[in-house]
């Protein structure tokens, strides 16, 4: 197997609040291959968001290293960091679109920030809006869009700078099951078309089953288990995984109802 594209080694993260210390990530080791869709699941407070915030350096790790491609991310200068961040797209549960900008303006934002010319921006935005199937809403403001449409714009914005990886932090949690599926389909589609590596955080095993090849289960800041989705579903070893499997949500049924292949 080729060297992993993303390598997280012995990563710990400690938050200090006044005198108290919270160890939120404990000695995390993960390897993610290029082109993979990698799922991370865990209960609220397990440290999932903190982990991906460490990957795009919105947080600095307390110890350990994270490597993405050729970037050793804890060694980046401020300037390099902004360039590195442009290589990582991220989408959020609450979309975080800019209300002052149209759909076009939102997707143009990362390109403006990267200093692209007007013509290049125009061309690229048009192309990406096409890719996520929302060209007809180009001049709409976020206030005029449904949740699913907003998340498509979020995805388009995240893809604008041709990132190497896409981070998704509960991107479908605020959406109804049918809309969730359509957004997940977009992610699968761009993964196939662009060979984009995706890290997907979720509370739902069904989302992982539907979308991911490999996964890790995070439990109180520790990796409880990791491996291929197939293996873990066939043979769950951690308590968290078993609880999740027991409380399976109804996404599978929805997929069945809307005529998917069943999952």
């Amino acid at each position: 197997m080729a060297a992993p594209f993303i390598e997280i080694k012995n990563v710990s993260k400690i938050f200090k609040n006044q005198s108290k210390e919270f160890k939120v990530l404990k000695d995390i080791n993960l390897e993610i291959q290029k082109g993979d869709i990698f799922g991370i699941i865990g209960f609220s407070g397990a440290g999932k968001s903190t982990l991906i915030r460490c990957i795009n350096r919105l947080e600095t790790v307390s110890s350990g290293t994270i490597r993405m491609g050729n970037y050793e991310i804890d060694k980046l200068s401020k300037k390099e960091m902004n360039l590195y961040r442009q290589k990582i797209g991220i989408i959020f549960q609450h979309f975080n679109l800019f209300d002052s900008r149209t759909v076009f303006g939102n997707v143009a934002f990362p390109l403006e920030v990267a200093g692209k010319s007007k013509q290049k921006i125009e061309k690229k935005v048009t192309e990406i809006l096409d890719l996520v199937n929302i060209s007809d809403k180009k001049d709409f403001y976020p206030g005029q869009l449904s949740g699913g449409q907003k998340q498509r714009v979020g995805i388009a914005r995240a893809l604008a700078n041709n990132p190497d990886i896409l981070l998704s932090d509960e991107a479908t949690s605020a959406l109804d099951p049918v809309t969730s599926l359509s957004v997940l389909d977009v992610l699968k589609d761009i993964n196939k078309k662009l060979g984009l590596t995706i890290i997907l955080i979720t509370h739902s095993l069904d989302v992982i089953k539907y979308t991911c090849n490999n996964m890790a289960v995070l439990e109180n800041g520790l990796i409880a288990e990791k491996g291929s989705v197939r293996e873990i579903f066939a043979n769950p070893s951690s308590e968290t995984t078993k609880v999740f499997i027991k409380n399976n949500s109804d996404l599978a049924k929805v997929d069945y109802l809307v005529g998917g292949e069943g999952i």
Binding site: L83, I90, N96, Y141, N161
Partner: protein, 229 residues
């Protein structure tokens, strides 16, 4: 009553009131321009250097915040007097509306700085985080995210500022700044010219009401365009 109203709207009264109105507008307009420039700058600076800001500088932020607060905590009349010599020196004129412009701005800059800071703080943390995650520099975040996102609130606060300024020019009037304030004191109070006093009040009421409606209209228009109302 009818006679009194006729007197209030007589040519004689408005020969006093109109020039004074222009003086007040002149003072307010120039002081407002200065206040907006520095208030925006200082408000952004307060936000950026906060310990949770884009570029934390806690010590600077504390000192700067304390200076702003100390000016804020003094009665505006006292601030006007304290800075009057400086104001006269900068403008090079020692009486009339012009002499008071800087002094008036100094009273209002702390107020507007805090209003700007609060408007910016209303922008959700998620948006800032999204911008950061896309590799935006602090300048990008301020100019392309924070200010445009908070524009409707900024405009409403801008109106609050202008109205405050008008009321402070009235106070400055009793120190020789001219304008409607001075007219009210000199004629309305000292010489019992109630007709002039009433005319001054009418101008102020109409002016402030107009500003209020205008600000609300523009702010609403932006919100409507963004489909947020």
């Amino acid at each position: 009553m009818k006679e009194f109203l006729a007197q209030v709207f007589s040519v004689e009264v408005w020969e006093y009131v109109l020039p004074a109105t222009w003086q007040t507008i002149y003072m307010t307009a120039i002081s407002t321009t200065i206040t907006i420039t520095f208030g925006l700058l200082f408000g952004v600076l307060l936000y950026v250097t906060d310990k949770d800001g884009l570029h934390p500088m806690p010590i600077f932020n504390k000192v700067f915040g304390a200076i702003i607060n100390s000016v804020l905590s003094l009665p505006s009349m006292i601030v006007v007097i304290i800075f009057l010599p400086l104001s006269k020196f900068i403008v090079g004129v020692s009486y009339g509306p012009k002499a008071f412009i800087v002094s008036l701005a100094i009273v209002c800059i702390p107020i507007f700085s805090r209003l700007v800071e609060n408007s910016i703080l209303e922008v959700s943390k998620g948006k800032v985080e999204a911008a950061k995650a896309m590799g935006a520099s602090n300048w990008d975040i301020i100019l392309k995210v924070m200010l445009p996102e908070s524009l409707p609130t900024l405009i409403r606060n801008f109106v609050v500022l202008t109205i405050t300024l008008i009321s402070i020019t009235a106070i400055a009037g009793s120190f020789g700044a001219g304008g409607l304030g001075e007219l009210a004191v000199r004629f309305g109070y000292n010489r019992y010219r109630t007709d002039i006093l009433v005319a001054v009040i009418i101008v102020l009421l109409v002016g402030v009401e107009f500003l209020q409606l205008f600000g609300a209209f523009i702010s609403k228009k932006i919100l409507k365009k963004r489909h947020l109302v």
